[in-house]
Point group: D3
Chain length 234, copies 6
C-alpha cells in the first residue's frame, strides 16, 4: 500500500476525527492544526503529501513588491509543487495579510495541487473561491503578504497551527480542519482507521435504533462480539 495513490484512496473516506483518535492511541497529540478552517464549508476532504512553505515577519527593507521577482519567491515555490501534493504554509499565525490571492491560487490549481493549508489568511476571497482550489486557512485579509510577511523558503520543516510539518508527511483536511500523519506512520494509521470507521458505522446504527451508550461506545465484550459478527457478514 506504499503507493501514494493507494494511500490517498484509503484515506479519502476517513474523517480527520478518526485519524486523530488513531494517532492519539499511538501517543501523538499534536497533529491537528489550530486556526485553519475550510474557506468553503463542505468542500471535499483533501489528502496528499505536504509541500511546505515558510514565511517570517515582514521587514520594510526586505518585504517589497520587488521581492516577488526573487528566485526565492512564492512564485518559484509554486512551480516546484508536485501534482497531488498539499501546500502547507507556515504564516506564523499572522492573519492580517493574505499569503495568496486569486492569481497564485489559480496557478496552484493548474499545477494539480490537491489543496492549500495555512495558519495565515488568503486574499481576494471571492477570486480564490472561483479558482476551485480547496483552501484551509485562518481567514481572509485584503493586504498582500509583503505587508506583514517575508517568504523565506520551501520544503523546510515548518510549524503550522502548532503542528510541526516535514516535507512528505501526509495531510488530511475536512470540515474539522487539517491533520498531519507523520510519513513513517501512514500505513499503520490507514489500517487502524479503516477498522475504526467500520466499527463506528455499526455503533451509529445501534444508536439510531435506540441503544444507550454505556457498554456500546466503546463496546464491552458482548457488543464487541456483536460488532464482529456484523463485520464478518458484510
Amino acid at each position: 500500500m506504499s503507493q501514494l495513490s493507494d494511500i490517498i484512496d484509503a484515506l479519502k473516506p476517513v474523517s480527520t476525527a478518526t485519524i486523530t483518535t488513531v494517532l492519539l492511541k499511538l501517543g501523538l497529540r499534536r497533529v491537528w492544526m489550530r486556526g485553519t478552517r475550510p474557506l468553503r464549508p463542505g468542500q471535499p476532504r483533501t489528502v496528499g503529501r505536504a509541500f511546505t512553505l515558510r514565511f517570517i515577519p515582514a521587514r520594510e527593507d526586505l518585504a517589497t513588491p520587488a521581492s516577488w521577482s526573487s528566485p526565492r519567491s512564492t512564485r518559484a515555490a509554486i512551480e516546484e509543487m508536485p501534482p497531488g501534493s498539499v501546500a502547507v504554509a507556515d504564516a506564523m499565525g499572522v492573519t492580517d495579510a493574505g499569503i495568496f490571492g486569486d492569481i497564485l491560487c489559480a496557478r496552484i490549481k493548474q499545477r494539480g495541487v490537491a489543496g492549500l493549508i495555512t495558519d495565515g489568511a488568503v486574499r481576494d476571497t471571492a477570486g480564490v473561491l472561483k479558482t476551485g482550489l480547496s483552501v484551509w486557512c485562518g481567514g481572509a485579509a485584503a493586504p498582500p503578504s509583503v505587508a506583514s510577511l517575508t517568504f523565506v523558503n520551501w520544503q523546510e520543516p515548518i510549524g503550522c497551527g502548532g503542528v510541526s510539518v516535514y516535507p512528505d508527511d501526509v495531510i488530511v483536511a475536512d470540515d474539522d480542519g487539517a491533520v498531519l500523519i507523520p510519513a513513517a506512520l501512514v500505513e499503520d494509521v490507514v489500517r487502524v482507521a479503516q477498522e475504526q470507521e467500520l466499527m463506528e458505522t455499526w455503533i451509529m446504527d445501534e444508536v439510531l435504533k435506540g441503544a444507550s451508550l454505556p457498554g456500546l461506545y466503546p463496546p464491552n465484550e458482548d457488543n464487541l462480539k456483536r460488532y464482529k459478527d456484523w463485520a464478518s457478514r458484510r
Copy 2:
C-alpha cells in the same frame, strides 16, 4: 406559568437580544456566553432547562480512551439528560479538541434533548450536522476530547463562556448565541420580555414608515401613548 412547557412556549418567540435587555434592567450583565456560536446559522431558537457537564484539562495518566468506559463518563452523563433539557458543557474555552462527535450527538438527539451549548468545540462536524441536534459551540476540532480535556461530572455549577450556570437555570439560544436566565427570575423575564417584543414590533413598523429615532426608541410620552393605543387595539 411555572410549568416548563409554558415557559418554553412563552420564550420561543423572544430573541436573546430582548432577554439580555430585560436582564440588564434587573441588574444582570453576565448572562451571554462568549465564544459559543450556532454550528448551523439559522437553526431554530432553542429553550430549555440547563443540564450541566464539567470538563477539566487533560492529564496523560487520566484522559485516555479507557476513561470512556468509566461510570463518570460523558456516556453516563448523556443517559441522565432529561428530554427537553439543554446540555451545557464547560470546556474551559478549549477549542482544540471536540467534546462530542456524531455518535454522542446522535444519542443526545435520540434522548429528546433540545440542544447542546459549549464554549469548547465539537468534532466530526459533518456527522454532527446530520444528527439534526441544534449545537452552539466555539468551533470544530478533529481531536477527541481526551486529547485536551478530562470529563469530571454532571449537574454541578459550571462556568460556560464566562457565565455561571447552575442546573435548572433556563437557557435560550439563537443566532446571537446563548443566554442564561436564572431559575428564580424566569417568570419575571418572560412577562417583561413579551411586552418589550410587542413594543419593538410597533417601533420597527414606525421606522419602516420613515420615522426618525429620537423620541421613538425609547419612546417619549407621546409615542408611548401612541404605542399603547396600538397595543390595546390588537
Copy 3:
C-alpha cells in the same frame, strides 16, 4: 473625478486586495481593519465616505438604557448620517455586546447609508439581516451596547480594527473586509488601482492558459510589452 459619485463608480469594481497593494506602494500599511468581517458572505462591495462613531467602555453610572434618550445618543448620531456614507464605529474591539440591532439598522438603511463597519458586534442578527443593510463586524452578541459600551460622540477621529479613521476618509469593503483610503489620496489610488485591476485580468487569463508565474506576476519586460499590446487593443 473629485465628485463622490464618480469616485464611487470608479471604486466599485476594485477589490480591497488591489487597494491595499496600491496603498502599500504609497507607503501605507495600516489600512485594513482587523476583526471586521462581512455579516453576510457575498454581500455587495460597498464604497463611501466615513461617518465615524465612538464608543468607550461601559460604566454602570453612565451606560444605562436611560442614556439612549440623551442628545449625544447613537439615535441622534444616526439622524446625522448623510445618504451614501459608510458608518464606521469604534467599539474598541469589544464583541460581547451588540452596538446596533434590527431597529437601528433599519433606520440607518432608511437614511440611505451605504453600509456599517465596526470592530464590535451587532445584535439580533436575524433582524439585522432582514433590514438589508450591508454590515461588516466582529461577530454577533445578544447584549445591548450599554452592557459593555458607552456612546461618546460622532464625526471624531477614531480607531477601528487597528486603523485610524477620520471623517470623510473613503471606505471600501468586500469579502476580504474593510479598507480605508485617506481622503487626500483617493484620486491617486483610483487611477493606479484601475490600471492594476486591468493588468491582473490579463495575468489571470495567461495563468488560465497555463502560463507559469515567474516573469509573469509581476511581469518582466517581455510580458509587460505583451500586456500593453493587449491593453491598447481593448
Copy 4:
C-alpha cells in the same frame, strides 16, 4: 471635604482594594484598569484628578516625527496638565510602542503632575525611572509612539484598560494597579472607605491573634459589637 487637597489627604491611606469594594457595593464593577501595573513596584500610592489623553492607531501619512510639532501634539497637552493631576492616556492597549520617554516624563514631573497611567507602554525605561515620576503602564517598549499610535486630543472622555475615564474623575493607584472614582461619587466613597479600612485593621488584628474567619470577616452581630467598642475607644 470637597477641596481636592482634602480628598487627596483622605484617600492617601486607602488602598485600591478597599475602593473597589466600596464601589462594588454602589453597583460599579468596571473601575479597575486592566493591563496597567506600577513601573516601579512599591512606588507611593498616587491620587489626583484625571487629565485625559487620547491616541488612535498610527497611519503612515499622519504619525510622523513631524507631527510632534503640531499644536495638537503630546507636547502641547503636557503644558496643559495642572499640578496635582494624574495623566491618564488611552493607548488602546497597544504595548509595542512607548507613548512617552524620559524627556516627556521629566517635563510632566516638572509640572507637578502626580502620576501617569496608561494601558500602553513607556520607552527608555531607565530614563523614565530616573525622572522620579510615578508611572503605571502596560510595559516597556523601545519604539516611539508614532510607530504605532497617533495622538488626537486631550481632556476628552477616554477608555483606559477597559474603564471609561472622564476629565476630573478621581484616580487612585497603588501596587494593585489604578482605579477610578467617578467625580460625583468621591465624597461618598471616601467616607465609606475610611470606615472600612478601620474595620479591616481590627479584623486583621483579630486574625493575627488566631481568630478564625467565619463570623469575623464579614463580622456577625457579636463581632460587629466588639469592633464598635474597639473603634469607639480609639
Copy 5:
C-alpha cells in the same frame, strides 16, 4: 518514604525544571501551570499536597459581599485547609479580580498552609506580601473576587493554569512556577529526580571547567562512566 514529611524533605532540593523532565519521561506533559508566577521572586521553593478551591464566573444575583457569610464560602474553605498543604485555586484564568487579600492570606498563613497557587490574581499585594505567605499567581488586581468570580466548593478536581489537579496530588513551586506530581507517581518521581539532580550537578561542574556540550549533556558512555565514578566517590 510514603510519609508526607519524607516526601517534602526529598523534594525540597529538587527544581521544578527537573521534575517536569522526569514526568515527561513518564509520558506526562501537562503538569506545569501556565500563568502562575511567584508573587515575590526568590521566595522559597514550596512543596505540599494540594487542597483545591473552585471558582466559576460571577453572577450579579449570586456573587455579592453577602455570599462571604455562606457556609460554602472561601472563609469556610480556609478553615478546612490542613497544615502543610498547598492551596490551589481554579480562578478560570481570570486576572481582573483578586481571589484573596491580606486578611485571608494572613489566616491561611496562620493555619500553617505552605503556599497558595492560583491562575487568578491576588489583591492588596502590599498587604499579602506582609503576611509572609508564599504565593504563585497570575498578577495583582484591586477588585474583590465577587466582582468577577463566585466561589463554589473545595476539594473537587479542578483545572489550574491548564493542569488538572485532584486533592492530594503533590505540588512543587519555585521561580519557574508551579508543577503537579500525580499522587500515584510521587515516589517514582522523587527517586529519579534525586538521581538527575546529582548528575546535573556533575555536568554543571564539567561545563564550568570548560567542557563542551555534545557527549556531555546528555552524557555518552564515557561521560556516564566518569559521572558514575564521581557519584560513587561522594
Copy 6:
C-alpha cells in the same frame, strides 16, 4: 568603523529607544521584538551580531530527550556560536517550555556569547541567573524545550517577537527589550543615533532647567541654533 568591535563600542551608549527612532526615520517600523523582556531588570545593555536558532512545535515522535544527542541539536548549535555574538532563538512565542536552562546558559556564557534573546521562555531561572548570562525572554517555564518545541537548525532567517532576523544582523538589547539593526544599515544608524543622543542630552538639560516642550522637542530654529552652539563648545 566597519569593525565589529568599533560598532559595539559606538552602540554601547545608545538606547534602544533612540535606535528605533532612527530606524523609523529610515522607514523601518518592525525592528523591536515583542514579548521579550530582560530576565534581570537593569542588566547591562548588550550589543552583538545575531546567531540565529530555529524551533518548531513539538511532535511526540520527534521531540524526545533522545533528540538532544542529535547532530542538529541545540548542543551542537551552541558550540558554533562565536564569541561576542548574540544568540537569537525563534521559539514561535511559545512560553510554556523553557528553551534553555542553567547548564546550556552556562556553556553559552563560557563561549563568550554576549547575550541570549528569545520570544520563548527559559527554565531553571535561579540557575540561569547564576550563570551571569544576559537573557531577554518571554518568561520562565519549568518544562524542557522538548515538551513543546523541536529544534530545527541554526543560522537560518528566523522570526523572533514579530521581527525577521538574519544571521549577522546587529542586535541591541536593554531594559526596553531587544531591537534589530539590519546589517546593511548599521553604520548609518550609529552615526545618526550618536547625534540624536547628544541632542537629547541637551534637551533633557533644558527640561530640567524648567523649559517647556513646544519648540524644544523637537527643536525649532532658535533652539536648534542654541543646541548647535552648545554642541560645538563641548
